[in-house]
């Protein structure tokens, strides 16, 4: 018995850090130093280009972008010092260095294409300087819009995911609900929620409610579908085992079927989240008078392209942040699926 105990204990990544340390030692020296200095070099190049090349775009330069460049110079310089003097932190940061470098260089390229060489026409293609300026100038307004979008998205998503899971469990578990529910799901589900905008606008008393219900509908379909299929495909033997343990229907549904269907439910939630972003932006351009989508349409109408890019940048951070949260939640809930050692 002890043999099997030991074998299962050591089967997991005891040897992995050893291997990595070996690779590190092999690559140390000049190459490692160069890798550590890369972000600093990139920041210095970006700084010099912005400082010493003449501006060809006819815009009022601001002091925000130089400030950002200064900050990046300080930041990457600090990272470099930490890396060469504190190996533990260095090991943690080293894999991220190329990404940071690429990001800084991308900013420089953007600066060159727009402000420095004026390769793209204004006002549609402002430089990083203008966009940053717009972000800082309008931060209060943009924060308000982001907050509004977040509330709308959260209420719509929660409503859609909640009803979706309930419908999915009912359809997946009970043949009667499946008989009546499946045709509805199959016909109503595939309609893009955005196609129902005209209907939503007259059905609901406020723009917020119509927006939230459109988002909910967009989330509802994939969550219901994937939950139902997850529940319907639970291994019979899990249910058999539970019944011989004295389980009633509550236990079978809540303690066996739903946990077993969780991987599938999460796929539905991810699909629903993607659909909810799309629906949010569309819903905000019709009826609603606040939010990122509305602001985007407004900025476009007034050809304030500085703000358009600022809003897109906010959306990138906002949506990817929410996506990351859902990934984190999945990793927590589905910890049993992965080869994660917990003791």
């Amino acid at each position: 018995m002890t043999a099997s105990v030991e074998s299962s204990q050591s089967s997991v990544p005891r040897d992995m850090p050893v291997q990595r340390a070996h690779v590190m030692r092999g690559g140390q020296g000049g190459r490692a130093l160069f890798m550590a200095a890369l972000p600093l070099l990139a920041a210095a190049v970006s700084w010099c280009l912005h400082r010493y090349l003449p501006n060809r775009q006819t815009t009022q330069p601001t002091h925000f972008y130089p400030l950002l460049l200064n900050a990046m110079l300080l930041f990457t310089g600090g990272l470099f010092l930490i890396q060469i003097s504190w190996p533990v932190m260095g090991k943690w940061f080293r894999p991220k260095a190329p990404l940071l470098t690429a990001f800084i260089l991308l900013l420089a390229v953007w600066d060159l294409i727009t402000l420095k060489f004026a390769l793209m026409p204004l006002p549609y293609f402002p430089g990083p300087d203008r966009v940053l300026n717009s972000l800082v100038d309008n931060w209060r307004d943009l924060a308000q819009c982001t907050g509004y979008s977040l509330v709308l998205l959260a209420s719509g998503f929660a409503l859609g995911a909640g009803t979706g899971m309930i419908c999915g469990v009912l359809i997946g578990w009970s043949p009667r609900f499946r008989y009546w529910g499946m045709p509805v799901l199959k016909t109503v589900g595939p309609i893009p929620a955005t196609a129902l905008v005209p209907l939503a606008l007259i059905l609901f008393p406020s723009a917020f409610l119509s927006g939230a219900s459109l988002i909910a509908l967009a989330v509802w379909f994939p969550v219901t579908m994937l939950t139902a299929s997850g529940i319907a495909n639970v291994r019979m033997s899990y249910l058999d085992v539970a019944r011989t343990l004295g389980a009633g229907r509550r236990f079978l549904i809540f303690r066996v079927a739903i946990p077993a269907a969780m991987p599938s439910i999460f796929i539905g939630l991810f699909m629903g989240l993607g659909a909810s972003f799309l629906t949010l932006i569309v819903a905000e351009t019709v009826g609603v008078r606040s939010g990122l989508g509305w602001k985007l349409a407004w900025a476009q109408q007034w050809t304030e392209y500085d703000q358009v890019y600022a809003i897109i940048a906010i959306m990138a951070v906002f949506f990817s942040g929410i996506m990351t949260l859902l990934f984190k939640l999945r990793d927590r809930v589905l910890v049993w699926q992965k080869g994660v050692i917990k003791w």
Binding site: D240, L245, R255
Partner: protein
């Protein structure tokens, strides 16, 4: 071949007719009674498969019964009927004084695949029987004792995918035992294990059986396992699945796997299953 010193040879080879012990069991002294039970499966195209026909058997409390036979002989079907997971087409099944009409925590079931709930830790898997019966609060303190019983202390917070096959099957055993069932139905529980682990687990199951006095029905492909473990061996034949005969095993415990009596009984069973050379 010479019959080994088994008793009683006459009734042992008697066919599916109710044995005397089954008759006495009708008066209520048995843990399980199977009376003329048959199971016919009807496929989607209306074709019928007789999985089990006219099976009659009585199991005494605390007895260890092995069901052996080729695949398709209905031994797993019989076990599922006893667990209450399926309903018989004909006949009756009784557990003590109670007619079996559905699953019960009184009759635990362990499959060849441990079927642990992968989303629960070892401890929570074992507790699930208590949760299902709503008895977790009163009986939670008994769980460590069951983990010790199957040698799993220290693995309470491990997830099933981190366990070896033998450990997973021990968890399955503990999970079935935590409800203190009077009958434990074992459907080839050791069939997927390697030979060494299997022999060690046979001893562990025997130890549990002796310590707890649980009535056990063990379905197995392995004739050695049946002889090594059981009080009586029920030999079943396929197409249609039915009980061919019931052989008592009166070797003293603990049994020697290579004693002459063991080997003689083994070749006798093989002969009955038509695997030995000369049979007219």
């Amino acid at each position: 071949m010479v019959m080994p010193s088994l008793e009683p040879p006459a009734s042992a080879t008697g066919a599916a007719a109710p044995s005397p012990s089954a008759m006495s069991a009708l008066s209520g002294a048995s843990a399980l009674q199977i009376i003329g039970v048959g199971k016919t499966f009807v496929a989607a195209d209306e074709s019928r498969v007789i999985a089990l026909q006219d099976a009659t058997l009585s199991v005494r409390p605390g007895e260890m019964i092995a069901l052996v036979g080729p695949s398709g002989c209905g031994k797993s079907t019989l076990l599922r009927l006893l667990a209450g997971l399926d309903q018989p087409t004909t006949g009756q099944l009784w557990a003590g004084e109670q007619r079996i009409s559905g699953p019960s925590a009184q009759r635990g079931l362990v499959f060849q695949d441990p079927n642990l709930f992968p989303w629960l830790t070892v401890r929570r898997n074992i507790e699930s029987g208590l949760v299902a019966r709503g008895a977790l609060r009163e009986q939670r303190h008994e769980v460590p004792q069951f983990m010790r019983l199957v040698g799993l202390e220290g693995f309470a917070n491990a997830y099933p995918h981190q366990l070896s096959g033998g450990m997973a099957q021990r968890v399955a055993l503990a999970r079935a035992l935590v409800n203190q069932p009077s009958v434990l139905l074992l459907d080839e529980p050791l069939g997927a294990l390697d030979a060494f682990t299997r022999m060690r687990m046979q001893d562990e199951v025997l130890h549990l059986w002796e310590a707890r006095g649980t009535t056990m029905l063990l379905v197995t492909h392995d004739i050695d396992e049946a002889i090594y473990m059981s009080d009586r061996i029920v030999i079943m034949t396929p197409r249609p699945g039915r009980i061919d005969c019931v052989l008592p095993v009166s070797l003293p415990r603990p049994r020697e796997r290579n004693s002459p009596a063991f080997l003689a009984l083994r070749s006798h069973i093989l002969e009955m299953l038509h695997f030995a050379g000369s049979r007219s």
